[in-house]
């Protein structure tokens, strides 16, 4: 694979703006991290609700509902976790000025992300149409499963869009070797979505 270096930054030569950018990076990083913290609280609240309801004494899964398909979800999880690894390498390659490899890993991340969403769509179709487990019609099992995984899927969808936009921006030269906070923020968000899935996978499929 030919190693291409990064496109020329559009802010080259505008020192005041670059200085402003460099100085405010810590600010934007902290803002992004705090946003992720608050998003974490959102998920934690629903996870609390799920565990509280599950602890209410009735058996799990409730009568008439069969266990979730661990095998399929394991594959889907590996797909998502794999996308986390590829995202890490995308950022690494950007930092080392390898546009070609960056692009490869970035696209791989997007493809894997879409793959995960397809897997979730398959899981939902299976649950709703074959097993007849629905959001509103299956008591607290359907309520908690679809709400939490749906919220997560929504976050992944937004994440895929975000990564596509970042990729297009990087192609257009918005980011340079030294100025790429957007990519850092995207990586943080993508890892966050991954880590949430570790928790959701464990509490829905494995316990």
């Amino acid at each position: 694979m030919a190693v291409a270096s990064l496109p020329h930054g559009s802010s080259a030569g505008h020192d005041g703006v670059d200085q402003l950018y460099a100085d405010t990076r810590a600010l934007r990083l902290q803002g992004m991290l705090l946003f992720l913290v608050s998003d974490c609280i959102l998920f934690s609240s629903f996870i609390f609700a799920y565990l509280y309801m599950r602890n209410s004494g009735q058996g799990w899964p409730p009568a008439g509902i069969s266990r979730l398909d661990v095998a399929f979800a394991s594959v889907n999880s590996v797909v998502l976790f794999g996308s986390g690894a590829t995202m890490h390498y995308a950022l690494e390659n950007w930092k080392h000025n390898n546009f070609g490899r960056y692009a490869l890993f970035m696209l791989a991340t997007i493809v894997l992300g879409i793959g995960f969403l397809s897997g979730q769509a398959y899981e939902y179709t299976n649950l709703i149409f074959k097993e007849h487990v629905t959001w509103a019609g299956s008591g607290i099992f359907g309520a908690s499963f679809f709400t939490l995984t749906g919220m997560h899927g929504f976050h992944v969808s937004v994440g895929v869009l975000y990564l596509i936009i970042l990729f297009l921006q990087s192609v257009h030269g918005v980011y340079t070797k030294d100025k790429y906070f957007g990519l850092t923020a995207g990586t943080l968000y993508w890892h966050f979505v991954d880590v949430i899935w570790v928790v959701l996978f464990s509490i829905f499929y494995l316990i």
Binding site: L33, A63, R67, S77, G82, G84, H191, V195
Partner: protein
Amino acid sequence: MHIDPAVLERTIAIIGGIIVAIVSAKALKDDWNTPGLDNQVFKLMLGLLFIGAIVAALAGANVLGNFPKAA
């Protein structure tokens, strides 16, 4: 030759999980000494990714999530 989809899925999960675990561990080791708040967060995320990949592999191997059929 007919492969039971569940077996195929489990195999992919185990192999994939191990690969991702190795890759994340290597990435974590390589980046261990980087400074800066964002890098600390990345290291934490890579560690959790490592754990997640192991969990997925164990789930594929029926070690975790191995329940008797529901009533």
